[in-house]
Amino acid sequence: MSDTTHDGALATSKPPSDDAGLSPAELARKYGLSVSGARPSLGGYVRQLWGRRHFIMAFSRAKLVAQYSQAKLGQIWQVATPLLNALVYYLIFGLILNAGRGMEKGVYIPFLVMGIFVFTFTQNSLMAGVRAIPTNLGLVRALHFPRASLPISFSMQQLQQLLYSMIVVVIVAVAFGNYPQPSWLLVIPTLALQFVFNTGLALVFARMGSKTPDLAQLMPFLTRTWMYASGVMFSIGTMLKDKPAWIADVLQWNPAAIYMDLVRFSLIEDYGASNLPPHVWLFAVGWAVVIGAGGFVYFWKAEERYGRG
């Protein structure tokens, strides 16, 4: 390999005598230059992300605050929006359709509200993930940072949004006679696991969405189907009473249903363990680990390709 064209055919700047015979790659090696925009190792990537943790946090907070900054009531909407949402669903599913199917009102309303908020958490993280790269292409093409910062930051934003919603959840739970007790603490590991799961999901869809932005158009249909199959407004067990038990089990093992049921189980006194599928914690941890780690690796594998037009 004796390639002498390292300066192009028109090179007029005096070539350095010793390096004249070297090919670009050899020259780069000699001076210890590295390939620009190459993908770091997985460990290096995690370190880079850790280095950017303040950016990830600041970006998610900024997005959250910017959302309502033009409204007169400002940040009050963080709580008012989920509250109004809960009211609408109660009106339709609780009063008009009577989807509770024999569940007492004191159980059904908190059941419904928790289902909606917990599912929305996953749904919104997923949607934000799909759009993470296409809507921030300007940022990706202007600055260096591990691209996973974007989907992670967006699911962080959804987590903060959920924490506001949890204020409504607590109000509703107490209003229907469920008072704080030790089991409420189970909400913390449940939501932590769900957050890991959501982030993994957002990472997977961020990679797919960066290649095929059309996915954003399909997602609403997918998430709606998922919502109806996960028992957000009704109890899967009661609905499928006369079907073989494994169907209900399979539906209840889906991650959205798992995290919803665990939150309900922790907060609603009369929503006992009989409503949970077998091995529920195993599945809660399993989904988080598999999708969280898998999604991260899947996203990292295409790191050098994000930002291509």
């Binding site: 350095p16 020259l27 390939v35 925009g37 303040h54 970006f59 300007g138 202007a142 291509r308």
Partner: protein, 260 residues
């Protein structure tokens, strides 16, 4: 390291760089949804339907050395900015490679800032986006605000950026972007924005950054600023490197070519 024995140390090496944009054109120009559908069904060779390839940079090779200030000239759409982004590792190359010493950075933070946030928060967000630590930002915060001159007409820094005039916003953006020192610095035209007073200040700041940086790339349509700043110029046309040489030689050739 061999650097001591060598006079000229390469900092950026571009080796036969090709960059292709793939643009989703929806239903590829003419025709309705049905036309788009039939296109999908027909499945031509090569790229997916509704995608057009734009070959923006075609086989550019050069080596930049430490201490050089390199200007990039060429008509609009000749691939200058695209090439800069590829050097920075922000745009993946279709083929060929770019080798760099350290992490080159593009001067600019526009995309990270949010109009609905206060200037204050944007300073922090922009700094973090550029990879500064919270301590570094805290340290330079006052300098950034003072440099931008945003607070000269009252306490504007605590108002959302959408309330700023376009000149004020541009000044704040520049001040944030210029707050960090870089090894390989790339500047993409029209940076000296704002009123005359601010232009003078920002030109001085660019000069300061240039002195600290190992290698500087400058994209500009202003031949005078290229003459002032650069020792070497690359002339790009239609994505190809037309000329590479000392500033005066290349700029006069460029002026001759564009004058008629």
């Amino acid at each position: 390291m061999a650097e001591i024995t060598q006079g000229r140390v390469p900092t950026v090496i571009a080796d036969e760089v090709h960059i292709v944009y793939r643009v989703n054109t929806g239903s590829s120009g003419k025709g309705s949804a049905t036309a788009a559908l039939s296109k999908i069904l027909r499945r031509g060779k090569g790229d997916a339907p509704g995608v057009r390839r734009v070959h923006a940079v075609r086989g550019v090779s050069f080596t930049a050395y430490r201490g050089e200030a390199i200007g990039l000239i060429g008509s609009n759409g000749s691939g200058k900015s695209t090439l800069l982004r590829a050097i920075a590792g922000l745009l993946p190359c279709e083929s060929g490679k770019v080798y760099t010493d350290g992490q080159p950075s593009l001067l600019g933070v526009n995309a990270a800032l949010m109009n609905d946030l206060t200037g204050e928060r944007n300073v922090v967000l922009g700094g973090l986006a550029m990879g500064m630590t919270r301590e570094q930002i805290k340290e330079r915060y006052q300098d950034i605000v003072d440099f931008s001159g945003i607070n000269e007409k009252g306490d504007f820094i605590s108002l959302p950026m959408r309330t700023y005039s376009s000149g004020m916003a541009a000044r704040l953006r520049f001040s944030i972007a210029a707050a960090k020192d870089h090894d390989v610095l790339m500047i993409d035209e029209a940076l000296a924005t704002g009123d005359r007073k601010f232009q003078v200040r920002s030109e001085a700041r660019i000069r300061e950054l240039r002195e600290k940086a190992g290698t500087v790339f400058l994209v500009s349509h202003n031949n005078n600023s290229i003459r002032d700043t650069c020792s070497r110029v690359l002339w790009l046309e239609k994505g190809e490197l037309l000329m590479d040489g000392p500033t005066e030689e290349v700029v006069s050739a460029y002026e001759k070519a564009t004058s008629h």
